[in-house]
Amino acid sequence: MPPETPLPLTTKDLTSDQEVRWCPGCGDFSVLAVLKQVLASLNIPRERFVFVSGVGCSSRIPYYLNTYGFQTIHGRAPAVATGLKLIRPELSVWVVTGDGDGLSIGGNHLLHALRRNVDLKILLFNNEVLGLTKGQASPTSRAGTRTRSTPQGSIEEPLRPLTVATAAGATFLARTIDVDVTHLTETLRRAAEHRGAAFVEIYQNCKVFNDGVFEYATDKGVKADNLVYLEHGKPLVFGQDRNRGIRLRGLRPETAALANGNGGSLADLLVHDEAAPDTTLAHLLSRMIYPESPECVGVFRCVERPTYGDLLDGQISEAIRSEGPGDLDALFAGEDAWVIE
């Protein structure tokens, strides 16, 4: 067997020989570049990574990484990845999906992979439009979005990926942005380090069919006023001058102005707790939606729970411990065998 590729890996080690084919200006380029850097930093041999995807622009990513990769069927990547992870627990299995792939055709599989806490890293590239099929509404398109399938504007209420993932009880939930390289790097690294199902929503700009839909979160002039960067144990403060915060009025988060130099009102603010055992806070944060309120980015939730694979292995070990390792001949014979001389 040849030696493993020397660690640490370089981004070059992780680059396949395939020509990358996305539209010029696509947010996917940035995510791919950052992803390679994060993978290289993990100190995991290249052959241990497997990227599984479904169908859509982002689902091409496995072909561009010099790891093991499997582009599967529209929406089914979480199910394929689950089968793979269950039989090969030592691998680092990543799922790349989009808003159409993951929440439209594949919504069911995403829910179940999350609720089972299968040890998968799931990256959902959300551009709020179907790109590969050339510009139709997706389940995350905001009401009123005009696309080729909704020329008069979408009449559907969108799904919010993190709300869905929270409802499924995901143990790691985060949101980040394609062009915010520092934040994207840190968020992907946190996801990689999480043991269990890690779900990351990435706001990703589709230059051709939905350009600028996240401008409020990427434009240097306004983003500070529209984004709350979540930090564990810290109050939710935002704004160009960090003079606003989020506090709870009853069960609703609302924006509160911080008086200059008045630390007293800081104490009224909601303090982020990514380790909260229940999902209420993560849900509240996932429902903060621009333009009604600023939106949160960062790690919404990070809790420990046994993974599906650990529990399955535990049951297998327990069965072997209590019943002894399987004896095929005894199983063949059953309890009522008879002999004909």
């Binding site: 067997m1 040849p2 030696p3 493993e4 590729t5 396949s16 020989d17 395939q18 041999p45 290249r46 052959e47 241990r48 497997v50 599984v52 995807s53 496995p62 072909y63 990484l65 790891t67 093991y68 990769g69 499997f70 582009q71 599967t72 069927i73 089914r76 199910a79 394929v80 990845a81 689950t82 089968g83 793979l84 992870k85 269950l86 039989i87 090969r88 030592e90 691998l91 069911n108 599989h109 179940h112 049951q315 297998i316 069965a319 072997i320 019943e323 002894g324 390792p325 399987g326 095929l328 001949d329 199983l331 063949f332 014979a333 059953g334 009522d336 065998a337 008879w338 002999v339 004909i340």
Partner: protein, 614 residues
């Protein structure tokens, strides 16, 4: 049952869900097996999960066909045991006109009669005139047996507990009718109720009283001797098709050394495969109850990509959901085993009834040119060999294999000669090794089989998927010439498997008047019908296809050696159309789609007609 001796007999025990007929049936099965008989059994559970007591919907039945040359569940019932009016109402139609009807007279109360839809008591209104009716007070006789002080102090039990032994009383009488020993059931009672001496005693008394009743009562039919034609020597057990499928998958995983992921979604009549494997965790099998049929298939494909053995079982509607992931496995050329335990269709169809109408779905039910290997199991015990073979072909040829069983095979049971695990044929698994050059996932061997590189192997990192790929490198390719080449290679890879498969064999003369060709679960009925026809001097032979794709290389030759070809199928003629189009022969179909297996007599009549007609 006019003769005192016969080759085989069919007994059906029927009663309310709480009457213990399944249990009595299992004992009759074991006792017959220990007498050396071939035994075929079929349970008939109520469709409702908890039907009201005494209702027609709540009738449970168990049929046992035992004796010599038994390969089906039996055409007609020779002895019907009806423990209540609803059981009589439901099952009388299947009793042979010469058959014996044993009923528990005590259960024929006005209330119970009304629940079964009787306006008058059939035991007294003359509607059973001409039947060989034995209307016995089985409940009273069971109570009397329990209370009989000649055998010591009566067991201290409630009347309800005593009444639960009435199935065992009936069984004792059945044993007397067929000259079967009580020993095996007595031993079973001894073990089963070892911790409850009172119940043990009541059951023992009931069984012995049942037989004694036969010995001492005048006017009963004469006991019948079943002709012995013992099975070949060996160790046997009774096995259902679904358990045999599960064992076959597990055994193949063991032999090949591959970790097994069994992923499934519950569906009648395939769920028992899931239940069995879920219970065998000590063998290391990973069972994944997926969120739906699609996910189960996708997970199996994921396991195959991971270098493990991915398998799933479903029924027709589930196979429809799985077709896109099967297509992925065909395109990616990954080995997975997909079992379809067929039921009546289309749509939800008849969930618990049998049919063979998924052959076309198995062969063609996917988008694009999408060939897979298709096998069929022919009997409950054969399900083991078929599942094992499915794994061998999948792994050996890097292809999905679709195995067809059916609802009848799933729940019916027959004796299975228990194999030795160490004597099972090997299933070699070949893995590529890195040689420094970029790995080519579609660089094939002489049989067009591509290498199976498992993730985790340094130097073999590669990307594959459902998009068309360049032969050799596996890189995405939309090149028209490459696409046609890949389509042809994938087809050729499957076609070439015939070179390793056994030829189609024939039971009967190698040429002649009539060849009866079948596939799957019709085996027993066709084999019995052809043997009987041969016994009457008719020129009929039988060939049965295990391999539906590719078909054995001599199939055309075999078909052409007979003047006529008859194709009995539980569909409207799917194999028939295949044989006509593939081999240009003018075959005749015998088709039945009633959710029930063929009767032997139905095939016999057709053989008679085709061989006698000029």
């Amino acid at each position: 049952m006019t003769a005192a001796e016969r080759d085989s007999a069919v007994v059906r025990l029927a009663g309310d869900s709480g009457d213990g007929v399944q249990l009595a049936g299992a004992q009759l099965t074991l006792t017959s097996a220990l007498c050396g008989d071939a035994v075929w059994t079929a349970p008939d559970f109520p469709a409702e999960i908890r039907a009201p007591a005494g209702s027609l919907a709540g009738v449970s039945a168990f049929q046992v066909h035992f004796g010599a040359d038994v390969q089906t569940v039996g055409d007609r019932v020779d002895l019907l045991v009806a423990m209540n009016p609803a059981a009589l109402q439901t099952h009388l139609k299947d009793l042979d006109t010469n058959g014996i009807l044993l009923v528990n007279r005590d259960a024929f109360t006005p209330d119970e009669l009304a629940k079964a839809g009787y306006t008058a008591d059939p035991l007294t209104d003359g509607s059973l005139a001409g039947r060989r009716l034995l209307a016995l007070p089985i409940t009273a006789l069971t109570r009397a047996a329990a209370a009989d002080r000649r055998y010591g102090a009566p067991p201290l039990l409630s009347q309800r507990e005593v009444d639960r032994c009435k199935n065992i009383f009936a069984l004792g009488l059945v044993y007397w009718l067929f000259e079967r020993p009580l020993g095996p059931t007595l031993r079973w009672i001894q073990e089963k109720f070892a911790r409850n001496p009172a119940i043990l005693e009541a059951n023992r008394r009931a069984l012995q009283a049942g037989r004694r009743y036969g010995e001492t009562t005048a006017g009963l039919p004469d006991p019948v001797k079943i002709g012995a034609a013992p099975l070949p020597p060996g160790r046997y057990r009774s096995i259902t098709g679904n358990e045999a499928l599960a064992l076959g998958l597990l055994a193949a995983a063991r032999t090949s050394g591959l970790p097994l992921l069994y992923a499934a979604y519950p569906i009648a009549p395939a769920s028992d495969v899931l239940h069995h494997l879920a219970d065998w965790k000590r063998f290391g099998v990973r069972v994944f109850h997926a969120e739906d049929e699609t996910a189960a298939m996708a997970a199996a494909v994921g396991a195959a990509f991971g270098g493990g053995l991915g398998a799933t079982a479903t029924s027709g509607p589930g196979l429809a959901s799985k077709s896109e992931a099967i297509g992925l496995a065909v395109s990616a050329e990954l080995p997975v085993v997909v079992i379809d335990v067929q039921r009546g269709g289309p749509g939800l169809g008849l969930p618990t009834k049998t049919e063979q109408a998924d052959l076309f779905q198995a062969l063609f039910g996917r988008n694009g040119e999408c060939p897979v290997v298709v096998l069929a199991a022919r009997s409950p015990a054969d399900c083991f060999d078929a599942a094992y073979e499915a794994v061998r072909l999948a792994v050996g040829h890097m292809t999905p294999v679709l195995l067809l069983s059916d609802a009848a095979l799933a729940t019916n049971a027959e004796p299975w000669r228990v194999p030795l695990a160490s004597a099972l044929p090997p299933i070699p698994v070949w893995r590529p090794t890195a040689d420094g050059a970029p790995f080519q996932p579609y660089q094939r061997d002489g049989r067009h089989v591509r290498p199976w590189a498992a993730p985790g192997t340094p130097g073999l990192e590669h990307r594959i998927g459902g998009l068309e790929k360049e032969d050799g490198s596996g890189a995405v390719s939309y090149d028209p010439i490459n696409h046609e080449r890949m389509v042809r290679i994938r087809a050729e890879k499957i076609a070439r498997i015939v070179e390793t498969l056994p030829e189609l064999s024939v039971d009967g003369s190698a040429e002649g008047e009539l060849l009866v060709v079948g596939w799957g679960g019709t085996f027993g009925a066709i084999a019995t019908a052809v043997r009987r026809a041969q016994g009457r001097g008719l020129s009929a032979a039988h060939a049965h296809l295990r391999y539906l794709n590719p078909m054995p290389r001599n199939t055309g030759d075999v078909l052409r050696r007979y003047k006529k070809v008859l194709v009995p199928e539980l569909n409207t003629g799917q194999l028939l159309r295949l044989l006509r189009s593939e081999y240009g022969i003018n075959a005749v179909g015998l088709n039945k789609v009633q959710g029930r297996p063929f009767l032997v007599s139905e095939i016999e009549v057709m053989i008679e007609e085709l061989t006698r007609r000029p």
